[in-house]
């Protein structure tokens, strides 16, 4: 990766929750300007934790970066507040939606424009979100708590877009979305990326989709990066194929047929 185009540089960070639970054990990753980087890995690998460390939402979870550094365009950001990061264009879409339950969908979206001052810009952003997610427009007056899971996910993504970000940390955007909308979300990502040069770091379980749209990928296991490479290379790696894409040697396996047989991942050896 070309080092001077790096916007986000995470360097050997260690994260501890609650003073005792060590979760990240020296994670390093780089996100280039205008790139889409995927962060892959199983449950509990530490993807969310990595994103939280970057956006500094960690403190609210009683977590702490104890080693390493995080730089945004050369500036150390470990001590900036999340709000200051949003000012600098870094926004995180949190896993599990976290919509403001008592606010209507539209109010939820409008909270995203808190750091924006220009009325015209806000209106335009709102319009943009509604064109991306027409479903939200029809539900705009409902209280977020009473919308369906997928609608809330859309709302959370839309809310982040309202901040006019330059870097979006997307945590499991496809979770709970219908296939059609999943496609759409990734299209939107691509769209923003090419048209507005928004950089994305996305943690995803849907490896298939993620590698299809990303330029570069990191794979995490139990708090470490175990593999990284171009999206294309990763997609062709045989381990990745078997464990994350479901296409072993003999093509896609049916979910009905995977029985107890399991091959150990090489990097766990």
């Amino acid at each position: 990766m070309d080092s001077n185009s790096i916007v986000l540089n995470v360097n050997g960070i260690e994260v501890i929750y609650n003073h005792v639970i060590l979760v990240l054990k020296g994670v390093s990753l780089q996100v280039p300007e205008g790139g889409i980087v995927a962060l892959l890995g199983g449950n509990g690998a530490g993807k969310t934790t990595t994103l939280r460390a970057i956006s500094n939402l960690l403190r609210a979870e009683r977590g702490e970066v104890t080693k390493g550094s995080i730089e945004l365009r050369g500036e150390r950001i470990e001590n900036l507040s999340p709000a200051e990061l949003v000012q600098r264009g870094v926004v995180q879409v949190m896993e599990g939606r976290h919509c403001f339950a008592h606010l209507s969908i539209e109010e939820n979206l409008m909270t995203g424009s808190y750091t924006r001052r220009d009325k015209g810009e806000i209106a335009a952003n709102l319009e943009k979100v509604y064109t991306y997610f027409p479903r939200l427009k029809t539900r705009r007056t409902s209280q977020a708590a009473y919308t369906s899971g997928g609608e809330q996910q859309m709302c959370a993504i839309g809310r982040a877009l309202m901040t006019n970000p330059s870097i979006v940390l997307l945590d499991e955007p496809s979770m709970g979305l219908a296939p059609q909308i999943v496609d759409e979300v990734f299209h939107i990502v691509k769209d923003l990326n090419t048209k507005e040069k928004v950089t994305f770091l996305l943690a995803e379980q849907n490896t298939n989709m993620a590698l299809k749209y990303a330029d570069y990928g990191y794979i995490m296991e139990s708090g470490r990066i175990v593999m990284d490479g171009n999206a294309h290379d990763l997609a062709n790696n045989s381990d990745v194929k078997e464990f994350y894409l479901g296409v072993g040697g003999e093509g896609r396996k049916s979910f009905r047929d995977v029985k107890s047989y399991k091959r150990r991942k090489r990097w766990l050896a």
């Binding site: 509990g44 859309m154 499991e172 219908a178 496609d183 379980q205 049916s254």
Partner: protein, 261 residues
């Protein structure tokens, strides 16, 4: 679809309509579930799938329609009755008991079966303790089955999402249900984990003959493991049939699948 036999209709949903103020979550939905089958419900976001499950287990009260379970017809049941009749479920937005350990979460699924009264429990004396241990043994089986031994005593709030989903399933299984309602059990999982989950579901279905109603957005999973599929869109039923029939249905493609599949 090997050794299992699907039996008679065990659950019959008739003309259910559900409204929240102006929002029509469900309009005149009817479908049935046969014993021992895996029945999937699919549909775009906000179609009313979760609401449908909520009607079945008494969380929501539909304005119209009735539900017949094992020959008994109800317009509304309370959750307790539903649970007593052997219907268990998992939740889309995890509804685990966050402050409790994994074991306690699963044990709470067995509460309906516990007979000792409060005094015996306080003394933890003879029969009460034996009963507790009996249930604990059952729960341990589920823990082994779901491969979550290592987290037995962890408070579930601290587990990663995917494991929480497993615990949620475990809690439902602990009820030894005849019908198991699963609301997006595989959301937020990677392929390997989805495979595990599918395996769990199928094994439950095959070994205990549990009837399964499944909401899922991963079409791969739905196509592979379900016997019949209902498709909802904006609260209306737009399709019902075997997976491949549904997949080729024009309406379904337009409303839900999009072109790619």
């Amino acid at each position: 679809m090997t050794s299992r036999k699907t039996g008679d209709v065990i659950l019959d949903v008739k003309n259910i309509s559900l409204r929240f103020g102006g929002v029509k979550a469900l309009t005149d939905i009817s479908f049935n579930v046969r014993e021992h089958e895996v029945r999937a419900i699919i549909g775009p976001n906000g179609a009313g799938k979760s609401s449908m499950l909520n009607c079945i287990n008494g969380v929501y009260v539909p304005q119209e329609g009735s539900i017949t379970f094992r020959g008994q017809t109800f317009s509304h049941m309370n959750s307790r009755q539903v649970a007593e009749m052997g219907v268990a479920r998992t939740f889309q937005n995890l509804a685990l008991f966050k402050g409790m350990s994994v074991i306690d979460n699963l044990m709470s699924g067995r509460n309906l079966k516990i007979k000792s009264n409060i005094l015996l429990q306080a003394l933890r004396w003879g029969p009460a303790e034996r009963e507790e241990i009996r249930h604990r043994e059952f729960v341990e089986k589920i823990i082994d089955f779901l491969e979550i031994q290592a987290w037995r005593k962890t408070p579930v709030g601290q587990l990663p999402y995917g494991l929480q989903k497993r615990v949620d399933l475990g809690r439902a299984l602990a009820m030894e249900p005849q019908v198991l309602l699963l609301d997006e059990p595989m959301a937020g999982m990677n392929l390997e984990e989805k495979q595990d989950m599918s395996r769990f579901i199928l094994e439950v279905n095959e070994e205990f003959g549990t009837t399964i109603v499944l909401i899922e957005h991963d079409m791969g999973v739905v196509m592979d493991i379900s016997d019949r599929v209902v498709v909802l869109d904006y609260g209306k039923k737009i399709g019902d049939g075997a997976p491949h029939e549904v997949r080729d249905n024009e309406d379904v493609i337009r409303a839900y699948l999009g072109t790619a599949h």
